[in-house]
């Protein structure tokens, strides 16, 4: 079937199998391999992207369901001359090690910061429950998200 999406600001027209998962559409059809797959039970959040501005696990959505939607992946998050504040905070606070959870974690954090105005540690931990990381023990991820939440919003486009 034919679908049209806007991915990282660019319109994409594709022919896809109806059963194709959004994450495989992004990775295998569009070649955007920044978004990762960490499980097959919607448990890990490595595949998190923004779908019409809201974070979703892209392994739980069919590409067909994203028809007509706009999608932001990790590749589309940074601004023209610098990284997004969440990306910067992850580097500054060493919120990543192997980097595998990172794209999903960053996208989940971007949306969490947008949705919850008064984030504190407990809310960040609650909000990131669906994003697993095996390397960092979450300590520095939580720190990075709280730091980014304090950074004045800056257009990422």
């Amino acid at each position: 079937m034919k679908i049209t999406t806007t991915v990282n600001g660019e319109q994409r027209d594709s022919e896809v199998e109806p059963r194709l998962l959004l994450v495989h559409y992004l990775r295998d059809v569009l070649g955007l391999t920044g978004t990762n797959v960490g499980c097959d039970t919607s448990s890990c959040g490595a595949c998190t992207v923004l779908l019409d501005g809201e974070s979703v696990k892209s392994c739980t959505v069919l590409a067909a369901q994203a028809d007509g939607s706009s999608i932001t992946t990790i590749e589309g998050l940074a601004g023209p001359d610098r990284m997004h504040p969440v990306q910067e905070a992850f580097q500054e606070h060493h919120g990543l090690q192997c980097g595998y959870c990172t794209p999903g974690m960053v996208m989940a954090a971007v949306s969490l910061i947008e949705e919850v105005p008064d984030l504190d540690e407990a809310k960040v931990r609650e909000g990131l429950e669906g994003n697993l990381c095996r390397c960092t023990g979450y300590h520095n991820i939580v720190k990075a998200v709280l730091a980014a939440a304090k950074t004045p919003a800056r257009s990422a486009s």
């Binding site: 070649g31 590749e75 580097q91 060493h94 192997c98 980097g99 959870c101 697993l132 960092t136 300590h139």
Partner: protein, 758 residues
């Protein structure tokens, strides 16, 4: 000013944060077929038939191979003492021995087609009785390898002295279960193989590419130079990716058979069955001593579950043995072990590999002993730790600890956690009968790092035209930040800014030899090699500069601020690295040093942790509220990275204590075979950690550095477990096996209450 010791941000990060890394599954391999494995659904069975007719006709199927088709020899454990008959066939032949064992492989044009086709392969099994736990395996009622006559993969017996506990006023015995856990790197295994003429190029999600190269060359009977292994970005390993697995090893065969490259990525559900598991020890501890708190004798007997085919897991007791007596000066220590095969996933190394098991055993034993004599567990530990003036200290099992201040670490942890106040708070809750009780767990640990295999590591440092530098290393970073740390080490000696130093690793064609990254070895072996090679390179360059300056080499010094050599006292006339590179011209050797480090031996990081939990005595729910960690890894090159290692380790330790367990039913069917069923720890279940710095440099290497990758796990597991038990100690609870799930805790409370009521 030195760059070492500073919180330098990782130069690896921008890539991972903007485009993501390039992991195995991300590789774009022209013309590649996808490999999908068909896996056994039975724990133990005879394979009576494999029907691939329907599968062959599915769309996109190029070929299907079974164990009968593949003419590769079985893969031996490669460990001393493991019987040859226990070698693992690349694809099962005749018998399957665990759920998840590969029985056939399908090659398709596309990924989804492989899953469809694999589902259409029909396998007939004739079930055999299964043996699932290693203690039952000892009876030999069910044999995995009848030719061998027993299920023992590796025996390790030491004489048991009959009068061992004579003279002890108190002797406490207990069986402890150090449960099987899943390493769960967030990236599952992935790889690819292709032939270029008579050379095989293999990509593998792996921690030790040179070891992988040797394994492929060995299995295929190839000269080493006909194999190239590349580890692309690797999404975590934790020990489970040290070795190659049969799924990796068959890829070159498939690529040859199909005449095309072959690409493979497992699913998480496959990974939970086929990536090795960790821990899996049954431990009988017996500890004896005097009522005033002096431990006089300690015995540890281990039954290790090796899984269906012995791999690194069968070797874990050897590491456990090294650390049997922990931080304590115990006059008499005995250790014995047996590694058993069972109808389960093979076990491998997992963060700590044998040492967390040793620490868990001795630390639980200390607590049981403390409870028996009615003494504070921190106090009992302090009375028994090795005194500071006894280093280097040789333990009764023959391990030589380099240096330590074990009592100092305990004091620091007690202070930082405000231990006395915690005990006071606990007393208040106990007397008020609050249903939320608090528990405090204390652990004292020492572990061995860089302790397996040759202690040295390869490095090469070279100056590039223009005066930049390039560092090559035989370590294989996959999250540890070696690119940042190694370029810091080189920059420190060369006086060349980090951003002008390139970094090369993880490719056996670019780096001629290497040991890889495991066992917390990298900094003290590979970092040390970079450090030493850089110093040697400066010496070499000084000689060249001396020639150009017509001076005596001994008089030439490097001004590290500007990266310029000059005669001491006359800084105005000198030569920069760029000028030296130009002068060296075509002499390729002039400004290159290749060097293998040879540290004097392993090192022994130590520390102490205090965990605080809240336990709901009505529901059994446990909340970890604090984790205070003193971890002494000697000199720290980059605290940001070292802290990150500690955090990750702490979380994995707490995870084992509270949540994670790979479970099988009695027939060997896994019941935790995906991330929905396996309770991998998330941010919600953890607090932020309280890290306390302590640094006792080791005399073993020139950096003074010890390993830091596994300390967090080793110290935190028993601290958290003990905290749960401690919360219920006033009810008479002495021990709860890991993981301390709400159900287990609730049962322990109920059992204690019914005993009290009797």
């Amino acid at each position: 000013m030195s760059i070492l010791g500073n919180r330098v941000q990782r130069r690896e990060d921008p890539k991972f944060l903007t485009t993501g890394g390039v992991y195995g599954d991300d590789l774009k391999i022209e013309g590649a077929l996808w490999a999908t494995f068909v896996r056994s659904t039975m724990a133990h069975a005879r394979l009576t038939s494999l029907d691939v007719t329907e599968a062959r006709n599915r769309p996109g199927v190029v070929a299907i191979y079974t164990g009968e088709d593949v003419d590769l020899p079985p893969v031996p454990a490669g460990l001393p003492g493991v019987p040859d008959v226990m070698a693992r066939p690349v694809l099962a032949k005749g018998v399957v021995r665990f759920v998840g064992e590969a029985v056939a492989v399908v090659l398709t044009e596309e990924r989804y087609q492989g899953e469809d086709a694999a589902e259409s392969v029909f396998v007939d099994y004739e079930p055999l009785p299964a043996v699932v736990d290693p203690v039952s395996a000892l009876t030999g009622d069910v044999l995995l390898f009848p030719e061998h006559g027993s299920n023992v993969a590796v025996p390790m017996n030491e004489p048991q002295a009959e009068d061992f506990f004579d003279g002890c006023e108190v002797v406490v015995r207990h069986r402890l279960i150090n449960q099987r856990v899943a390493p769960c790197p967030l990236e599952v295994r992935s790889g690819a193989a292709m032939w270029e003429g008579d050379r095989v190029i293999q990509y593998a999600s792996n921690q030790a590419p040179h070891g992988a190269k040797a394994a492929i060359a060995g299995l295929y009977g190839l000269e080493a130079d006909r194999v190239r292994v590349i580890a692309p970005d690797v999404g975590g390993g934790f020990g489970a990716k040290i070795g190659l697995y049969v799924e990796d090893l068959i890829l070159p065969w498939l690529a040859k058979a199909a005449g095309r490259p072959v690409h493979w990525t497992e699913t998480r559900s496959e990974s939970m069955l086929a990536l090795g598991h960790g821990r899996a020890q049954v431990q009988d501890v017996a500890i004896g001593g005097s009522r005033d708190g002096k431990v006089e004798a300690y015995r540890l007997e281990v039954v290790q579950d090796a899984g269906a085919y012995p791999s690194l897991g069968s070797f874990l007791p050897a590491l456990t043995r090294l650390m049997t007596s922990g931080t304590y000066d115990i006059p008499k220590v005995e250790f014995s072990a047996a590694s058993m095969v069972t109808n389960t996933t093979p076990t491998v190394a997992y963060r700590g590999a044998g040492r967390p098991e040793a620490t868990a055993a001795i630390e639980r034993a200390m607590d049981l002993f403390a409870a028996e004599i009615g003494m504070d567990p921190a106090e009992v530990r302090k009375r028994n730790v090795v005194a500071n003036d006894k280093f280097p200290f040789t333990t009764p099992t023959g391990t030589v600890y380099d240096i330590g201040d074990y009592g100092g670490a305990i004091d620091l942890a007690l202070q930082a956690s405000d231990y006395q106040a915690l005990r006071a708070e606990q007393a208040t809750r106990r007397s008020s009968g609050d249903t939320t009780q608090i528990g405090i767990g204390v652990s004292s640990y020492v572990e061995i790092t860089n302790g397996a295999g040759p202690p040295g590591e390869y490095a090469k440092v070279e100056i590039l035209p223009g005066g930049k530098a390039r560092v090559y290393t035989g370590t294989s970073p996959h999250g540890q930040g070696h690119e940042t740390a190694w370029t810091m080490l080189a920059s420190e000696q060369l006086g060349i800014p980090m951003e002008d130093i390139e970094f090369v690793a993880n490719d056996t064609d670019l780096v001629p030899e290497g040991g890889g990254t495991m066992g917390s070895r990298s900094l003290q072996s590979g970092g040390l090699a970079v450090h030493e090679a850089s110093i040697a390179l400066v010496d070499k360059a000084a000689k060249l500069a001396a020639e150009l300056l017509e001076a005596n080499a001994d008089d030439v010094v490097l001004d590290k601020v500007g990266g310029r050599f000059h005669v001491a006292g006359t800084p105005a006339v000198g030569r920069s690295w760029a000028e030296l590179a130009e002068a060296a011209g075509d002499d390729g050797d002039a400004l290159v040093v290749a060097h293998s480090s040879s540290p004097a031996g392993p090192t022994f990081p130590f520390g102490a942790h205090v965990a605080v939990v809240e336990v709901d005595t009505d529901t059994g729910r446990v909340k970890l509220t604090r984790l205070v960690a003193v971890d002494d890894a000697g000199t720290i090159v980059n605290p940001l990275l070292a802290e990150g290692q500690r955090h990750g380790g702490l979380a994995q330790g707490a995870a084992q204590a509270l949540m994670e367990e790979v479970r099988y039913d009695d027939d060997g069917n896994p019941v935790t075979s995906n991330l929905a069923d396996y309770a991998m720890i998330s941010a919600t279940e953890l607090p932020s950690f309280e890290l306390v710095a302590m640094a006792t440099p080791t005399p073993i290497n020139a950096l003074g550095a010890k390993g830091i990758g596994e300390s967090g796990t080793i110290g935190s597991t028993p601290a958290v477990q003990s905290a749960v038990v401690d919360a219920l100690a006033h009810l008479g609870v002495r021990h709860i096996d890991m993981p301390a799930t709400p159900e287990r805790v609730w049962r322990a409370v109920a059992a204690a209450q019914s005993t009290a009521a009797e």
